[in-house]
Point group: C2
Chain length 535, copies 2
């Protein structure tokens, strides 16, 4: 790694943001590194020591009551203002992210649009209003032996949320990504622990959100962003009494450390950690017979996207052993062999990827299909592809583990029953993919309920990379894909993570929150005496 520092991007000065103020860290210093050449980037950043992080949490707590009491329309405007501010600095953010992550510029430009689009989607969801979960059961004054009281229900925000930014989506799963957007939408102030792999991108976006908060007229404490040493000060953030919930995207090791810290608090809090998945892809025989070679090439396109650094990267392919799967394997192997090495997000991720590939290729039960050379550039990774039998895969649990990067394993099942057995043996996943022709319907129908129990999203005849930001999306799944399979981190249902229901019994109408007032001033769809109505 060269030590020569490059020129900093415009507007990037090494600041974090505490409730509207640009401040500089008071602990250890660090710099971003360009993964393509190992060059350290200007400016130098400093981590926050304990005091600064605690202050961010306290400012968030102080902002909580006024924030949640503010009109929902003002909250929606905040999200739209943040979207506008991010779009305005989008080119600079994408450019800086390109240097900090090694990801291609067009992909990052797309991520800017995804990030601002996501904020706007939550503004729309706020105005739509079903997130309130409003229910009304009117009193029955004449019920015997006693009057039945009037009971109403709505949902309230849980309190300040600590968001741990991911490294692999420096915009869409980072400072103003889905976790921040959904927490703010729910009415929860946010303290972001920025990812140290892209501090400049974080600073640009943090400044944009800070401007949006100021323009919205809401308390500045609704948003802070700090650089903090994860294993120490990051954990202090999770255990600060002001924090009511945690959202995280990253490794299983770190995710579970946050879960443990949150559970050990005097008042335990929920942690939504999106951690790891191998995203199985099932190639059913009819479809494979139709298009084995095309599927092989398309698969490698998904596998190598972003140097394989997607949470939804297809890490396991399962098909019936035979000539069609051989054709698929040959096409995929060829595409992997022809793929170019790419810089990985951080040197640690690159080293971990190299270890994972070495472990997989050296495993006595696997056979290497393609492992192009080219790893003489430090911090870069090459795609790799191995194969094994379903017998071996079912016996060797270590083959089920995620290797974060562009590596996949093709599992050859002896028959249809064994293909379903492999599905049953899998851990929890973010996604499960089925490639099926119409003649595969019976096998697909057998597989579907198994996959429903294993994954947050099931997709047909596509590839799992690419997560649409729409109300129906689920980006989540049973453990260990996430620490809490009842939720999603993408799509408008993500707000639910930061809300809890409250019932109001015989509360006078003029004291009730507007969502459950008799006259329905917000025009909400509500469950009234057991049936939905806008009356």
């Amino acid at each position: 790694m060269t030590a020569e520092a490059q020129t900093a991007s415009p507007g990037v000065v090494g600041a974090m943001y505490l409730a509207g103020e640009a401040v500089f860290g008071d602990a250890g210093s660090f710099r971003a590194v360009d993964p393509s050449d190992g060059a350290a980037l200007d400016p130098a950043y400093r981590f926050a020591a304990s005091g600064l992080v605690a202050r961010a949490a306290e400012l968030a707590e102080a902002a909580f009551e006024p924030f949640r009491a503010a009109p929902v329309e003002q909250r929606a405007r905040l999200l739209e203002l943040a979207a506008d501010e991010i779009d305005a600095v989008g080119d600079a953010a994408a450019e800086r992210a390109h240097h900090e992550t090694g990801l291609p510029l067009p992909r990052l430009t797309g991520e800017v649009a995804r990030t601002s689009g996501q904020l706007r989607l939550f503004a729309t969801a706020l105005r739509e209003g079903s997130w309130n979960g409003a229910r009304i059961d009117h009193a029955l004054p004449d019920r015997k032996p006693a009057r039945r009281p009037d009971v109403r229900q709505r949902r309230v925000p849980v309190g300040p949320v600590a968001v741990f930014a991911a490294s692999n989506f420096p915009l869409a799963f980072s400072v103003a990504g889905g976790d921040t957007a959904s927490a703010l939408a729910a009415g929860c102030p946010v303290v972001v622990k920025a990812h140290e792999a892209h501090p400049g991108t974080s600073e640009i976006v943090g400044a944009a959100v800070t401007r949006a908060v100021a323009a919205s007229g809401l308390p500045a404490g609704v948003f802070s962003m700090v650089y903090a040493d994860g294993p120490t000060v990051g954990i202090e953030l999770v255990t600060h009494p002001a924090i009511a919930a945690v959202a995280f995207t990253g490794s299983r090791r770190v995710g579970l450390a946050l879960v443990a810290a949150a559970a050990a608090r005097a008042v335990p809090i929920p942690v939504y950690a999106e951690m790891s998945a191998v995203n199985p892809v099932f190639l059913l025989p009819g479809r494979l017979a139709e298009a084995a070679a095309d599927l092989g090439a398309a698969f490698v396109g998904s596998l190598t996207l972003g140097a394989g650094q997607f949470c939804t990267n297809p890490g396991i392919i399962i098909g019936l052993d035979g000539p069609d799967l051989d054709r698929f394997t040959e096409a995929a192997g060829g595409a992997v062999a022809a793929s170019s090495p790419a810089p990985m997000l951080t040197s640690r991720i690159a080293a971990s990827y190299a270890d994972g590939v070495a472990r997989l290729t050296a495993h006595p039960g696997t056979e290497v299909i393609a492992r192009p050379d080219g790893a003489d550039r430090a911090g870069w990774g090459c795609a790799a592809l191995v194969t094994t039998t379903a017998d071996e895969f079912l016996a060797a649990r270590e083959l089920h583990d995620e290797v974060f990067g562009a590596t996949s394993i093709i599992v050859r099942a002896g028959d249809r029953g064994q293909l379903v057995d492999v599905a049953r043996a899998l851990e929890g996943q973010l996604t499960a993919t089925v490639h099926a022709a119409s003649e595969d319907a019976p096998l697909a129908a057998e597989l579907l309920p198994v996959l429903e129990g294993k994954a947050g999203r099931i997709l047909f005849n596509g590839w799992p990379t690419g997560v649409e930001v729409v109300p129906a999306m689920v980006h989540g799944g049973p453990y260990p894909a996430t620490s809490d399979g009842r939720s999603t981190s993408v799509g408008t249902l993500a707000m639910d993570r930061f809300l809890r229901p409250v019932a109001y019994q015989d509360v006078p109408d003029d004291l009730l929150p507007s969502a459950v007032r008799e006259a329905n001033p917000d025009g909400l769809l509500r469950m009234v005496d057991g049936a939905y109505s806008r009356d």
Copy 2:
């Protein structure tokens, strides 16, 4: 305690139920005890050893796929059949429960109706269908740079649920109580760990549910009920790989032990433990001036209901120090002094209650208002009432702890600000009550957002004991009232605890579950392209 065994109730032979079969335990023997006189009741019961409990979990797992695949209407019928069967044995169950718990017979007859009514309410909710959470976002074939796929969402059951029955509601929070009803409604098989304080009542109800399962045509494994030693075999149930979630009502100590066991599993699972609360009651000055004496008498009615053994028992009263609060205290003290001792559920609860009262009355910061004598009957408890200042209460955290039973503490606040400070200092609660006249509106409005952050249910001008089973009810609340403040154990929202969302991307219509099929065959209200519709 006399050792003389009484005659067993009809139909009570000492059996547990494993997937339709009456079986007898193979571990230690125990008997129910009549708390009114300490007499052991026939028959003898035996706990299940590890193998039997594991078998119940495995039978539940085997039943899961067919159960969740069965038509929703069949599930609704199961709940209605169970309600009918319970009503049919209601008199016998209430009679046996009266002997096993010492609770008054009319209260238990009411509990039978509550239990069957609750099962029927979930059948209605199943047919209403909004629990599916159905969402559809249609494809956008022409979107650039790439087609947007079709994405649909619905919720699926998580898997077999372990239900730990409570001691204080031998019907409504026991074998076929809210946890069992909501889990079955969600499509999750249930293994109940019956409470050893009322095994005969459990046996009667367990047999009734078993008959209902048989009549429904659903797999017998959807319901099992075991007697098991909680700290050992009960924990084994929670840690059995087949179990996907846990519901519990009881003490904080046991609840937290279950949470810890569930978190330490290879695959951690959610635990919904409803644990402890002191259910603060705020007497605002206008209302207190109007009706201090009446409120004092009504309060003691709520306090002494069921010997104070309600999760929602009012354990703390907060008012402004002065003549009106003195009048309230005098009336309440008189009513407590005149109250009769009552048998408590178990000798351990009675001993723990006696300890708690002794601790509270001996506390240097409290003054005893009323502590009637009469505790010469083993296993019986008398109501008690103490008072303290808000200064003392805010300084002495130990005064915030629940004493399970008919004891309460009156906290005298110096002014309105201190009254709100007391609210802010409280732990999470199941309920918070406000007594307010119209002139109290400003103070009530200040108090309300604080209480929203503290409690699952806020009620005005009533008493917290008595939890209506209606769709809008929340019986839950922030820690330590429950281990998971995002949920409720009463009301139809309780189903949500046992469901998780799944997204379907580009899945062919004929393979989709009916809830999200294009033609909407179930006639559900669904969020389609962001707006609710039945089309």
